[in-house]
């Protein structure tokens, strides 16, 4: 009753996201952290000298003005590695999340809206997919193809993690399809595909977006975990690889190696914390009924 409605409507989803993130202090802080990490990982390499040779004279070097975070077991500069090592896990996270969410939304939407035999079949498919042991699959893939690229990893993560999201999207579509505005669209004979993708799913945009971010965090953890376990071949600089190398070289016993171990962990945690805080303040604002309040 006492709610004042601000007369702004056409801002669209991106406007709403912006509004949602900037509205609360914690959300804005989260956004700043995420942007900061992204800049660090994607713009950083353009700004610094990325030439980082192995130097046996500088193994586990201390923090100096030349080497901001010291050097590693090969005498390479830790800071340069840190700057170069962000792109890969972040990319893997995003690609895997796109794949997971796309599969989950399309299959979940179809299963929930069309129901019947298709629903039954898709549910069976989720059951089967859920039983695939992810780590074992990665071991097999890694042992067959020595040159597994990070994108292959992203695809595999995407292809095995969708069932959970798909099931919850299906459940939501099942309730949304009974709503009167969906029935109104059916009375208008708008066609199944249009009703599903233009009427039903946009109502879940916020939920889907939030799950997209959660999927990114999960995929980053998965890929970092795999590096840590040594399942992936060592190629370019990479935060996960850094942790693994630190671990393999008993860095935790060498006080000078602490930055090499902690810096990538700190970056990963910072990125995740940023995403999670940003998401939390986004949760309500993607719903247009709550947008203007």
């Amino acid at each position: 009753m006492a709610v004042t409605t601000v007369a702004s409507g056409g801002a669209g989803v991106w406007g709403a996201i912006w509004q949602g993130v900037t509205r609360s202090t914690s959300g804005f802080l989260g956004l700043c952290i995420v942007l900061g990490v992204l800049l660090f990982a994607f713009v950083g390499p353009l700004l610094i000298d990325t030439h980082n040779p192995t130097d046996v004279t500088k193994i586990w070097g201390p923090i100096t003005s030349e080497h901001w975070l010291g050097t590693n077991h090969e005498g390479k500069d830790t800071f340069v590695q840190l700057v170069l090592g962000g792109r890969e896990p972040i990319w893997v996270g995003i690609v895997a999340a796109v794949i997971t969410v796309a599969i989950a939304v399309v299959l979940g939407g179809i299963a929930g809206y069309v129901r019947g035999r298709i629903d039954h079949f898709l549910l069976q498919l989720t059951d089967i997919t859920m039983t695939i042991p992810f780590i074992v699959l990665m071991l097999v893939v890694a042992s067959f193809y020595r040159t597994t690229s990070p994108m292959v990893v992203a695809f595999i993560i995407g292809l095995v993690t969708w069932p959970y999201l798909m099931r919850s999207i299906r459940a939501q579509v099942l309730t949304l399809r009974e709503r009167e505005f969906v029935e109104a669209a059916r009375i208008q004979d708008l066609g199944t595909a249009r009703i599903l993708f233009a009427e039903v799913l946009p109502n879940m945009a916020g939920y889907i977006f939030i799950n997209f971010i959660i999927a990114i965090t999960n995929a980053i953890y998965a890929v970092v975990g795999m590096y840590l376990l040594g399942l992936l071949p060592s190629t370019a600089a990479n935060w996960g690889l850094m942790i693994q190398q630190a671990w393999d070289n008993n860095a935790f016993l060498v006080p000078a190696a602490v930055p090499f171990l902690l810096a990538p962990m700190a970056m990963i945690m910072l990125f995740q914390i940023g995403l999670v805080t940003m998401t939390r303040s986004l949760e309500q604002t993607l719903d247009p009924r709550l947008r203007d309040r």
Binding site: G9, E180, Q188
Partner: protein, 346 residues
């Protein structure tokens, strides 16, 4: 764009009303039943209803909640298939229609829900909601025409100036405005029949009348036939003065006839009780009016109906030995159809 060529009248459905020959039914229900399975046995929500909707006329279905009026409306709209009986559109059984005919029926018979908060998609603008059907069915050539036609439709339902409303979201409008948008959306399909399910009951009194007037114009100017569901007899009387009222009780029509006759001279004791229960906005009238006193205030359970007439446990005039043994059929009684052993004798 509202081109409304009067449809060639095919074989008229057999109607009971006197004007059947001159004004054949567009949409008719023949002995429709709807049985829902329930935890305590089957629930006969609708048990044998015959109705006809004629162009430019309103048929009001009145009754209390749980009497089956919404279920009947949903069957008429093709949203639920009757478990028995048939729904005919222009004389064709909608079950026997091929895909193309079915699509034509789908668009010609539009349904307006009770709750405009729920029947509009919260994430879409008015323009997008109203024009979706136009664009889908290629009734407009391009985006500009879609916008123009949508604006015309909004003006037709008295949302003026239309430009102010086109880009609004449902939550930015009042209940009455939302309901008008829902009507504009139905109108976009050039409907021949509109089924309105309690479409004005959630609105303020001040808005209700103007919305009824808007609907009345569609009925009179465009010749749209209305199946109007309401529990408010005053609204039924006002909207369907030239049409018919059918009173439903526990899934059956108990009295049906021309509105002025039924409202001003109700014959079935249930209709009488309903009319006398209305609170009139006149303190003198309210305190002097004669009230029908029911023997029991509560509706019997649909899964456990009494023998004989469904209404007899509550009926103030019931005759022992007749009403509790035989179910009265709905038969013609002078100017109306009536299902009552006692009132039907006179």
């Amino acid at each position: 764009m509202i081109d409304r060529s009067v449809p060639p009248t095919a074989d008229p459905a057999p109607g009971t009303a006197t004007n059947a020959a001159s004004n054949p039914a567009l949409l008719s229900l023949h002995g429709v039943h709807q049985v829902f399975p329930g935890p305590r046995g089957d629930v006969p929500a609708v048990a044998g209803v015959d109705l006809e909707v004629r162009p430019g006329k309103a048929l009001c279905l009145v009754g209390e909640s749980g009497c089956g009026k919404t279920t009947t409306a949903r069957m008429a709209a093709g949203l639920a298939a009757p478990t028995r009986g048939s729904v005919l559109f222009r004389g064709r059984n909608i079950d026997a229609m091929d895909k193309k005919e079915r699509s034509g029926f789908r668009r010609a018979v539009q349904y307006i829900h009770q709750d405009p908060y729920a029947s509009l998609n919260p994430v879409r603008t008015v323009h997008s909601t109203v024009s979706a059907g136009l664009r889908r069915h290629r009734m407009v050539a391009d985006r500009r025409e879609a916008r123009r036609v949508t604006a015309e439709l909004l003006e037709r339902v008295d949302l003026t100036p239309a430009e102010d409303f086109l880009d609004k979201y449902p939550h930015q409008m009042s209940g009455g405005q939302r309901q008008r948008v829902a009507i504009a959306r139905a109108l976009a399909m050039n409907p021949e029949v509109i089924i309105a399910d309690e479409s004005t009951s959630m609105l303020d009194v001040s808005i209700r009348v103007s919305l009824l007037n808007t609907l009345g114009r569609l009925r009179d100017e465009l010749g749209v036939g209305f199946l109007f569901i309401t529990h408010d007899l005053a609204v039924a009387k006002y909207f369907a003065w030239d049409g018919e009222i059918a009173v439903m009780y526990l899934g059956k029509v108990v009295e049906r006839g021309p509105t002025p006759r039924v409202v001003n001279d109700p014959r079935h004791p249930y209709t009488k009780a309903l009319i006398s229960a209305v609170c009139e906005p006149d303190p003198d009238l309210a305190r002097t009016r004669e009230r029908v006193r029911l023997r029991d205030a509560d509706i019997p359970d649909l899964t456990d109906l009494p023998p004989g007439c469904d209404f007899h446990p509550r009926c103030p005039v019931y005759a022992q030995g007749v009403c509790d043994t035989h179910r009265p059929p709905l038969v013609r009684d002078h100017d109306r159809l009536l299902a009552c052993h006692v009132a039907g004798q006179g």
